[in-house]
C-alpha cells in the first residue's frame, strides 16, 4: 500500500483566549509524525484533551499548524492557499463528528447533497448521488425528514452519507459513536467498515475507546501531544 497521508513534525500551539494569562500559549501538539496508507483504517487513541481532535482537524485542513507539514498524496496541504485548502476539504476529505452536526434547516437528502452543491457540481446529478447514498446508508425513506425528525443513529448515518457525497479518499471521524448507545454504535461502525471494505476509503478514527480501536488496522497512541506508539498493528 502507498502512503496517502504523511504528517511531519506537526506542532500546534493555541493562545487560550479564555485564560487570564493570554501570554502563555498552550502547546497541544508537540511534533507529531504519522504515515497513513491508502485503504487503511487507523485509530488515533488517547485521553481527552491530548490533541486527538486537533490532529484530525490539521490532517483534514480545517485548521493550520503552528509548524510542520501534512502531505496528502505527497502535496503539502498547508502550503495551499485558503481557497485551495477549502477545495481540498470539499473534495478530498469527509468529516464525521461526534455530534452529528447536521444542518437543522435542511432535509436528510439536502444535508447529504450540500457538499456537492458547494463543489458547484450539477444540481440534479448531485441530488441523484445523494439519493444513492441515502439508499446506501439505509435511509432512503427518510429523505425528506429534517434532522429533528430522525433518531440519533439515523442522524449519524446521514452524517456519514454527507461525508461521502464528493467521493473523498479519506474519511476523518472524530468519536463517531461517542453519543450513541451500544447497538447503534455497532451499526454505525459496521457502516464505516463497509465503506472501507467496499469503497476502499481510508478511514482515520479518533477515539478514546480501546474496544473500538482494537477493530482498526493500526492504532496510534497520543499522549500529551506526542505519538508514543504508532506502529501497533492490530491482530485480527
Amino acid at each position: 500500500m502507498s502512503n496517502l497521508i504523511r504528517v511531519e513534525n506537526l506542532h500546534k500551539t493555541y493562545v487560550d483566549a479564555t485564560s487570564d494569562d493570554i501570554t502563555t500559549p498552550i502547546e497541544v501538539l508537540k511534533g507529531v509524525d504519522i504515515e497513513v496508507q491508502q485503504g487503511e483504517i487507523l485509530a488515533i487513541l488517547g485521553k481527552s484533551g491530548v490533541g486527538k481532535s486537533t490532529l484530525l482537524h490539521l490532517i483534514g485542513g480545517l485548521d493550520r499548524p503552528t509548524s510542520g507539514s501534512v502531505f496528502f498524496e505527497d502535496r503539502n496541504i498547508h502550503a495551499y492557499s485558503d481557497r485551495k485548502l477549502d477545495q481540498f476539504r470539499n473534495l478530498e476529505v469527509g468529516f464525521i463528528f461526534q455530534s452529528h452536526h447536521l444542518l437543522p434547516e435542511f432535509t436528510a437528502l439536502e444535508n447529504i447533497a450540500i457538499g456537492g452543491l458547494i463543489a458547484r457540481k450539477n444540481v440534479s446529478e448531485t441530488y441523484s448521488s445523494a439519493n444513492e447514498i441515502l439508499d446506501y446508508v439505509g435511509l432512503v425513506d427518510r429523505s425528506n425528514h429534517y434532522p429533528s425528525e430522525l433518531s440519533g443513529g439515523e442522524r449519524q448515518r446521514i452524517a456519514i452519507g454527507r461525508a461521502l457525497i464528493n467521493q473523498p479518499k479519506v474519511i476523518l471521524a472524530d468519536e463517531p459513536t461517542g453519543n450513541l448507545d451500544r447497538k447503534t454504535s455497532a451499526d454505525i461502525l459496521d457502516l464505516l467498515w463497509d465503506l472501507n471494505d467496499r469503497l476502499d476509503r481510508t478511514l482515520i478514527l479518533v477515539t478514546h475507546d480501546h474496544g473500538l480501536a482494537q477493530r482498526t488496522d493500526r492504532i496510534v497512541h497520543i499522549v500529551d501531544g506526542r505519538i508514543t506508539d504508532q506502529n501497533q498493528i492490530v491482530e485480527t
Binding site: 482537524h57 483534514g60 480545517l62 485548521d63 485558503d82 481557497r83 477549502d86 477545495q87 481540498f88 476539504r89 470539499n90 473534495l91 468529516f95 463528528f97 452536526h101 447536521l102 444542518l103 437543522p104 434547516e105 435542511f106 439536502e110 450540500i114 457538499g115 452543491l117 458547494i118 463543489a119 458547484r120 444540481v123 429534517y146 429533528s148 454527507r162
Partner: protein
Amino acid sequence: MGLTRILYSFEWLVSSRYLRSRRKQSFISIISLISVGGVAIGIATVILVISVMNGFEQSLKDKFLINQAHVNVRSTKGYFNNYQEQIDKIQGIAGVVSASPVIYSQLAIQPKRSKRIEGTIYIKGIDPILENDVTGFSGFVDGSFDFHDSALLEDVRHRSSQRETIKGGIVLGSSVASRLDINRGDVLRLISKMEPNPANPSTFFADVSNFVVIGLYESGMFAYDNAFGFISLEIAQDLYNQKNHINLIQVRTTTPEIASTIANKIRREIKFSNSGLYSVPRTSTWVESHAALFEAIQLEKLVTVIIEALIILVASFNIASTLIMMVMEKTREIGILRSMGSSKMKILIIFVLQGCIIGFLGIVLGSALGIGICVLLALEVVRPSRWFALLIFVPIFLQVAIALHQTIRRSRSLKFAISLLWLGIIAFVLYCLVQPIQINSEVYQLNRLAVKIDWFFVGVINFSSFFICLLATLYPAWQASKLNPVEALRYE
C-alpha cells in the same frame, strides 16, 4: 440560465432557508419578517409622502397656470411703444404659442351708488381675443367680454342721464364684485387721476370714468379674483394717457416647463433689436411669480426626503442587527459548512444574500403598499363605509385563518390560492379604509388631497434603499466569513 444557477446555488439555498428557519429558530424568522416590515413601511411612507407632496405641488401649478401667462415681459422704463413689432418678434420664437398686449395700473374704484372710494384694484387693458389665447380669459367670465358692443352696455347707456357718459364695459373680479355688492349691469367709477383745484388747493379734480359691469371674472384663485378688473386695451391706453403704449406682454409657451428657456430667448431677441424699445425688457416666468411658494415646497420635499432616508437607514440597521443575531445563532452551522469546504467568500455571500432578500422583499412590498395607497387615494369612486368593510372583512378573515391553519402542511397550490385570497382581503380592506382626504380649500386653495406618483423617484428610492440594505449586510457577513471553523464547531 443564470437565474436558475443562482436559484439552485449553494449560497441561495442556504440563505433562503435560513430566512425561513423552522421550529427552534422561528425567533430568527420572526426577526426576518420584522426586518422586511421595517423596510416595507419605510419605502411605503417615502412613496406616499412624496407622491402627496408632488400631487399638492402639481395641483397648485395647475391652479396657478390655469389663468396666467407663462412668461410676462415688461419694460424696465415703463412702457413699450410700437409693441406690435415686439409681439410679432416674440411670436416668431419657437415654443411660443401666443402673445398678448396688456396695459395695466392700479385705479381707485367707486360704485355708482357709493359716496366714497372703495379701495383700488388693478385694471388690465386687454385685447379679449389675444388675452383668451394666452390666459384662457373667456373661460372664467360669467357674462359678456365684448367691451364695446355689449347689449348690457347699450341698455345702461340708454337708461343713464345725459350728464353721465359711459366709457365702456368692464369685467370685474368676482370677489371684488361681491365685496362691493356689485352685479352685472351696475355702473362702476374708475378714478384714474386727481389734480388739485387751483381755486381751492385743499380740494381735487378727479378724472372719473364710468364703466358698466358686463361680466364677472372667477378663476378660483382668491388673490386674483379680488384684485383685478378688465377693460378694453384702447380705453385703458386712453385712461392712462398712453396712446399706443403698453406696459406688459403676456406670453403662452407650448408647455409651462419651457417658460424659463423662452424667457431667456425673449431677452436675447429684444435686446439686440434697436427698434422702438425704450430699454431691454425684464421677464418673469410663472415659476418666478410664485417663487417663494415653490421654493418652500421644494425645501419641504428635500427635508422630507432626508427624514425618509433616515427611516430607511434605521430599517437597514434592523437588517444589520438581524444578520448579527443570525450569525451568532448559526455559528456552529457556519463551522459545519466550512468543514465541508465552503470558502469564506461563500459564507459572506450567504449572509449578504440574506440581507438582500430581506431588503428586496421589503422594497417590493413597500412599493406595492405605497403605490397601492396612492392609487386608492387618487380614485374618485366612493368607497363603502368602514363599518360595512369590517362586517365583511371579519368573517372572511376568520375563514382564511382557519383554512390556513388546516392547510399548513397540505399542497403548495392550496397554500398559494389561500395566499392570493389573503392578499385580496388586504387589498379590499385598504380599498375601504383609504378614502380621498378632504382639505380646507380656503387654506390650501385645493379641496382634495391630490396624489402624483413620480416613477423616476420610486425607481431611485428603490435602488438607493437596496444599496443601503446591501451595505448593512457587509459587516455581519464579513464577521461570519472570518469565523474560525474549529472554534465555530465547538460553539454551543
